[in-house]
């Protein structure tokens, strides 16, 4: 493990990382937020979704002030139900990150598989897959996600809606961002499939699956990594947007977007902290993941290497 880290540190990418304060800062931020989300149940003063831990008398406590009725104290204040805003943010962060990561994973698997097939098989299959991708690109991703979400909501029985909402959200966002993966992989597959090593593998009697995944895919790894990182930032924002519009994570399992939606009800009546802190957290998360993606793209791009 240590030798791996030190070899990364010594590599080209490691060198580029050391030279980029933005990348270092972003990486620290991402790690801090990840840790906060992972260990939320141990760090937070309360579980904001266990009603027995809430006290309505704490409702609307401002940040860093003692509540005159209960003498409780909240770093980021408390919301309308007396929930600690700091705790809701960490729990919301878990949902946001989980949805983001799983949605990207789903989009990645789907996009990579379709891209490989399109590039390797070619012909009519290629046309169908890539034209579908083109058509899908003409719609904004958020619109597609809303469409899928709307259909799923209509189909699911009322009592299961809250439970399936998160999974629908993952599928909806994943389905809306598979295209960039497919395009990159298809390009790589088309270039590689006529190369000698692929022909040799074919002659050796290996099946198309092995060739696609073992021989062609590794050549497209670095662009996939870059796209995945940038997609993660976009997916987190897409999830927040959907939840903000009220079609995403339910209030019983809120993500950062849901918290922002709830908080904005109170923003104009003076309780700014219910909106401000979740919004700031979302900003930091999206910004740091995005900058990390940008840096990775530059670092892995051979044409930018001097």
């Amino acid at each position: 493990m240590i030798s791996r880290i030190s070899s990364f540190w010594a590599s080209d990418i490691g060198w580029s990382f050391r030279g980029s304060p933005v990348a270092i800062l972003s990486a620290i931020m991402v790690v801090v937020l990840l840790m906060a989300a992972l260990f939320a149940p141990w760090i937070t003063p309360q579980n904001p979704f266990d009603p027995s831990e809430l006290n309505l008398a704490n409702g609307f406590s401002p940040p860093l002030q003692e509540n005159p009725f209960t003498n409780d104290f909240f770093v980021f204040g408390a919301d309308n139900q007396g929930r600690d805003v700091f705790s809701t943010i960490l729990y919301g962060l878990r949902i946001s990150l989980m949805v983001g990561v799983l949605a990207v994973a789903f989009g990645l698997v789907l996009g990579v598989s379709l891209g490989l097939i399109a590039g390797y098989v070619g012909g009519r299959v290629d046309s169908i897959i890539m034209r579908t991708a083109d058509i899908q690109l003409t719609f904004p991703a958020i619109l597609i996600a809303m469409l899928i979400f709307g259909i799923a909501k209509g189909v699911a029985p009322i009592e299961y809606r809250d439970q399936v909402a998160i999974w629908v959200l993952i599928v909806a966002i994943g389905l809306s961002d598979w295209v960039p993966f497919a395009r990159v992989v298809r390009g790589a597959a088309m270039v590689q499939k006529n190369k000698d090593f692929v022909l040799a593998a074919k002659l050796a009697g290996q099946g198309p699956m092995t060739i696609m995944f073992r021989h062609i895919l590794p050549n497209a790894m670095s662009p996939i990594l870059v796209i995945a990182t940038i997609s993660l930032a976009l997916a987190i924002i897409a999830e927040a947007t959907l939840s903000f519009l009220g079609v995403g994570a339910p209030p019983t399992k809120p993500s950062l977007g849901t918290l922002i939606r709830v908080g904005q009800e109170f923003a104009l009546s003076g309780e700014w902290w219910i909106l401000f802190f979740p919004a700031l957290t979302l900003l930091m998360l999206a910004l740091s993941v995005n900058s990390l993606g940008d840096w990775l793209r530059d670092a892995l791009n051979p044409s930018l290497k001097s």
Partner: protein
């Protein structure tokens, strides 16, 4: 010299019209469902109609009964089942036809007819007859001392006009029917209909021949009524000056409206109590717990009532805009008293002891059904209740849905624990007992979803309906309230407050029924 004269004339005309024109732009969450006065018993519908049509007796904003198309009414000395109404003379409908006893008989019979949705309010009427051009006698099935109070939303129509336009049968709104009377108005009221586009805009102009021009302010000359569904949009429209008057400011926006120099807020306790109902029968709809329904035990119900911290709900969820309640009866209803309205302070140790005493030391689980678009902050109140109950070990699973799903659910008794709000249009306790406490049956207890059935109380409910001696009746009512309060069938939460926001130039008394009548608006 001709030109200056013309200019002066024009200027004078302009001045008089602008001095005389006082337009009130009025925004509300929903629109009236129809203009036919006997087709829907629904708040906004009745409110819009009441600007143009009138009952015999109305309820003034101060809660008193007010002579309207009838000037006097009394029970006939010789027969306690007959009410005699003396009608106002010289009243004309908007089309110029005179108002007389023929119209009253016709209108009341129309309101009593099978297709009418108002028939439940005046079900006690047996016969209506004209005993003179300006006198009618109403015979009831048994003595009914509170009949006039039940008639305040039964509006009078012109018999000739209705018959000429083939609208003698009240419109069937549910079937999507459209009749002449559902889109046109010929009333006696202070405003005439100018134009109406359903769910979009209704314009009314002052009826300068109105009989009450000297009795009421009637200062507004034109009313533009616009439904705007979203509360935030409605408040923004008021703040930006597009509206002059709205009736339902969200509690979190009250400060914003108050801090605007040109606007003010008038407040009043609403004629509506909000409470939780409990299934007190032997069987839980959601399945019994260890073979029993914990809510059937009065100790459990009392403990749950004690667990609801009403003061915290008032301060935080309602931001002070409510009156915590110990009884499910608004403060101005006959029968209300300070003693009845007391509620126990929340004492967790005591509640846990009570639950342990009832055999629920470790609590139990139950579902709470709640509307999320009916009462002020309904869902937030339910969420607060969930956390308050879970602190004493009762695990509550909240099911908050739209009123369209919620009301059928409690109507079909598919709930064990639910939220409900109740207004009392007759301002009398009997109305609450009839609908909410009497054993659920055809004529009574239609909103009693608690399965509460107390034969002794049922006979008392029937007895107060026939009791003519008000003092004896009040004593009976007090006794009945003490019984149901002890039985803790409902858990009272609070009485809602009304917040009407308007331009500062208006002087208005807020109507506890949330029924704004523009004729009472005066302008400074």
């Amino acid at each position: 010299m001709k030109k200056p004269l013309l200019v002066t004339a024009a200027a004078v005309a302009l001045m008089t019209s602008s001095a005389g024109a006082e337009t009130l732009r009025w925004g509300l969450a929903g629109d009236a469902l129809t203009l036919d006065p006997h087709a829907q018993n629904e708040g906004v519908t009745i409110m819009l109609q009441s600007q143009m049509m009138e009952p015999l007796v109305s309820r003034a904003p101060n809660g008193e009964l007010e002579p309207t198309l009838a000037t006097e009414w009394a029970i006939k000395k010789a027969d306690p089942t007959v009410w005699v109404f003396k009608l106002r003379e010289g009243v004309k409908f908007h089309d110029g036809a005179a108002f007389d006893s023929e119209d009253v008989v016709f209108s009341l019979n129309r309101a009593r007819s099978q297709a009418s949705q108002m028939k439940g309010l005046i079900a006690s009427i047996a016969e209506v007859k004209a005993t003179g051009p300006h006198e009618v006698e109403i015979k009831t099935k048994g003595p009914n001392p509170i009949l006039p109070a039940a008639m305040t939303s039964i509006f009078m129509l012109d018999k000739t006009w209705v018959e000429a336009n083939k609208a003698t049968v009240p419109q069937n709104v549910a079937a999507g029917e459209v009749t002449f009377a559902s889109t046109n108005v010929n009333g006696t009221g202070p405003y005439k209909l100018v134009s109406r586009e359903q769910d979009n805009r209704t314009v009314m102009r002052r009826n300068d021949d109105y009989w009450g021009m000297k009795t009421f302010p009637v200062k507004v000359t034109e009313v533009v009524f616009t439904p705007i569904q979203n509360a935030a949009t409605r408040v923004s429209a008021l703040l930006s000056g597009e509206l002059d008057f709205i009736q339902d400011v969200p509690v979190q926006d009250i400060q914003r409206v108050k801090s605007n120099a040109g606007l003010k807020i008038e407040t009043q306790t609403e004629n509506r109590s909000v409470f939780f109902g409990l299934n007190v029968s032997d069987k839980l709809h959601g399945g019994n717990i260890n073979g029993k329904n914990p809510l059937a035990d009065v100790r459990v119900r009392q403990a749950m009532s004690m667990a609801i911290n009403r003061d915290a709900i008032q301060r935080v969820v309602m931001r002070g805009q409510s009156v915590p309640a110990g009884v499910i009866m608004p403060t101005f209803v006959r029968g209300w008293s300070k003693e009845l309205n007391t509620y126990p302070p929340t004492d967790v140790a005591k509640i846990k002891a009570m639950l342990a005493d009832a055999g629920y030391k470790d609590g139990f689980s139950i579902q709470l059904d709640c509307p999320n678009d009916r009462y002020i902050n309904d869902e937030a109140i339910c969420q607060a209740a969930v956390s308050m109950l879970s602190q004493v070990g009762i695990k509550v699973n909240l099911n908050a849905t739209s009123k369209a799903l919620f009301f059928p659910q409690i109507g079909k008794l598919e709930t064990d624990f639910f939220m409900l709000g109740w207004g009392v249009p007759s301002y009398d306790s009997e109305y609450i007992f009839n609908f909410l406490y009497h054993t659920k049956s055809d004529a009574y207890g239609s909103w009693n979803s608690t399965r509460y059935s107390n034969p002794e109380l049922d006979s008392q409910i029937k007895a107060i309906a026939a009791e003519v001696n008000l003092e004896a009746r009040d004593a009976m009512v007090k006794n009945m309230w003490e019984t149901v309060k002890k039985d803790a069938v409902y858990i009272p939460i609070h009485h809602q407050m009304l917040n009407w926001a308007m331009k500062s130039k208006y002087t208005v008394t807020v109507d506890p029924d949330n029924q704004a009548r523009i004729k009472y608006f005066s302008i400074n």
